[in-house]
């Protein structure tokens, strides 16, 4: 992939926390092309969330370069080039669902009518029409995370950064939201970087899975996912899906990531 077509370009990135302290990330090189859906997977503490935060200019790298849309990460943040979704919904309790979704639009100085129109579209997109006047605590966890996704997509950022957004949800809700997210991704044509520690989630969602090693985090391998789009519940039952899950799993094993085995065990039980 040429660097020109990249939404995100990471070169020689290293992150050390503290003075001469822990090396969280080492020599990361990664290109993410327009319209891609790239998952970062790895054991706890491998720095995948840190990598995401560096791309978003929330954390600064110790060495190396990150460009977003051809600009330095700082410039891209100031230009509001990306939307972010956290592990928790991070909704403002004192705002209604509609006003939570409108928050970034207020920052961008959209007028009231334009905001209302976009909020309506977004609610439709995440299938929450009718809930605009609710407060976040009146919604279930899955609905709250959908509001959070609507907020991130509301201003049509070129890039979506998602940090284990479904980690706290039950398996059923997670699978439903996986399909919903793919639909939104296809409809909006955005680029997504998605952090997860679920192998099946990574394979199901992504166009590429980036497998990271335990600390210090490096890119251990990149697994292209050639499952056809659009993906449906049936995708999870295709032989190719299982082959890819196995491939990612073996890559993870090769990194010596012991913690992942627990995740695997529970996933096998469910399957």
């Amino acid at each position: 992939m040429s660097a020109d077509g990249s939404v995100v370009s990471i070169r020689g990135l290293t992150k050390v926390f503290g003075k001469g302290g822990v090396t969280a990330l080492q020599d990361i090189d990664l290109e993410v092309g327009r319209g891609e859906f790239v998952s970062l997977i790895g054991p706890s503490g491998c720095g995948k969330s840190t990598l995401l935060r560096i791309v978003g200019d929330i954390v600064e790298p110790s060495e190396g370069d990150v460009t977003v849309n051809g600009k330095p990460a700082r410039k891209a943040r100031l230009d509001r080039d990306y939307g972010i979704v956290f592990q928790a919904p991070v909704l403002y309790d004192w705002r209604t669902v509609a006003k939570n979704i409108a928050l970034p639009l207020e920052m961008l100085g959209w007028d009231r009518a334009k905001r209302a129109e976009r909020v309506r579209d977004m609610l439709e997109l995440v299938e929450l029409t009718g809930f605009e006047r609710y407060h976040p605590w009146q919604l279930s966890g899955g609905m709250q995370q959908r509001v959070s996704i609507a907020r991130a997509f509301s201003f049509s950022p070129a890039l979506l950064l998602m940090d284990e957004p479904f980690g706290a949800l039950d398996e059923m809700t997670r699978e439903r939201l996986n399909i919903e997210l793919l639909r939104i991704w296809a409809e909006t044509g955005s680029t997504v970087i998605f952090v997860t520690h679920s192998i099946s989630e990574a394979v199901f969602l992504s166009t590429r899975v980036v497998v990271m090693s335990p600390r210090p985090g490096r890119v251990a391998s990149v697994v292209p996912v050639d499952l056809p789009q659009p993906r449906t519940a049936a995708t999870r039952e295709e032989p190719r899906f299982f082959e890819l899950v196995t491939e990612v799993r073996e890559s993870l094993h090769a990194t010596g990531a012991d913690e992942v085995e627990e995740t695997l065990a529970t996933e096998d039980e469910i399957a």
């Binding site: 935060r53 978003g56 929330i58 943040r77 100031l78 230009d79 509001r80 990306y82 939307g83 972010i84 956290f86 928790a88 991070v90 403002y92 309790d93 004192w94 928050l103 970034p104 207020e106 920052m107 407060h135 976040p136 605590w137």
Partner: protein, 283 residues
């Protein structure tokens, strides 16, 4: 559901009221019966009947007004000074909290003085403030009495508001701050859209404390300034004649309590209107 809750609350309130009445009257009855003198002798002088205190409100006072009207005027005078002092103190307290939350160096330097301001007994400070303000002239005339009283009320109000504003502003969720950062939000936007709303439950907790403290502050302010139009003056006056008519002082206390409760309820109502939080997340 909601109606049942309201009914239950009213029932509990009435029950507690009845319980307090029973304790008061029961204590009085038993001690008078047995002639016990510990911890203190009980008679109509030390512990009048509750119904007698209420009936006393219909008796005329030396001013010519009935007691209930006289106390009403006093209570309104005190309430005016206390509410203006409360509003002023709350605003100053909030502003100070915002400034201190933003400048670390300033906070470390100023906070000890803020704390020290509250360790000075109000009884020692009030006369100084009241006398000092008495010598100030605004437009050729000294400020009206209630202004001096309001300053004391404000003095007692600002402290809890400052401390809780400071705490509340720093209670914003770190992820929510990252979210604001991702929007390239400026400090001012973060303050008004995130930090202040996050701090509101804390601030209202402080306002509830301050609401009652401002009434106490106003009463003490009146007494040290020898201002006789308010409840502070009424307390001093009736205290002098306590042996002749103890029920007047008790009735005054009742009014003072009602003003304090009224202030508290106003803050509570404002909180219900302003603060939208999950019930379990209210401080």
């Amino acid at each position: 559901m909601a109606v049942r809750n309201v009914r239950r609350r009213i029932a509990v309130f009435v029950l507690v009221l009845g319980g307090l009445w029973a304790i008061w009257e029961g204590y009085k009855w038993l001690w008078e019966r047995t002639g016990w003198t510990r911890p203190f002798r009980v008679d109509d002088l030390t512990l009048p009947h509750l119904h007698a205190i209420v009936l006393q409100l219909r008796e005329p006072t030396s001013t010519g007004d009935d007691l209930w009207l006289y106390l009403l005027h006093s209570a309104l005078f005190t309430a005016r000074a206390a509410s203006i002092g409360f509003l002023f103190g709350a605003l100053v307290g909030f502003a100070l909290g915002v400034v201190l939350a933003h400048f670390d160096v300033l906070r470390r330097g100023v906070m000890p003085y803020v704390v020290a301001s509250q360790t000075i007994p109000i009884l020692a400070l009030a006369p100084i403030v009241v006398r000092g303000l008495g010598s100030v002239t605004i437009g050729g005339a000294p400020p009206p009495d209630w202004v001096r009283v309001a300053v004391i009320a404000a003095y007692l109000t600002f402290f809890p508001v400052t401390v809780n504003t400071l705490r509340g502003l720093r209670s914003a969720d770190p992820w929510a701050l990252e979210l604001m950062h991702s929007y390239a939000a400026r400090g001012w936007t973060i303050l008004w859209k995130l930090r202040v709303p996050s701090a509101l439950p804390y601030i209202f907790t402080a306002l509830k404390i301050a609401a009652t403290a401002s009434v106490v502050g106003a009463i003490i302010g009146e007494q040290t300034a020898s201002i006789s139009n308010g409840l502070g003056g009424a307390i001093l006056n009736f205290n002098q004649y306590y042996v002749l008519e103890p029920k007047n002082l008790w009735a005054t206390n009742l009014y003072a309590a009602l003003v304090g409760i009224g202030f508290f309820l106003v803050v509570l109502l404002a909180e219900k209107l302003v603060v939208h939080r999950a019930p379990e997340r209210l401080v």
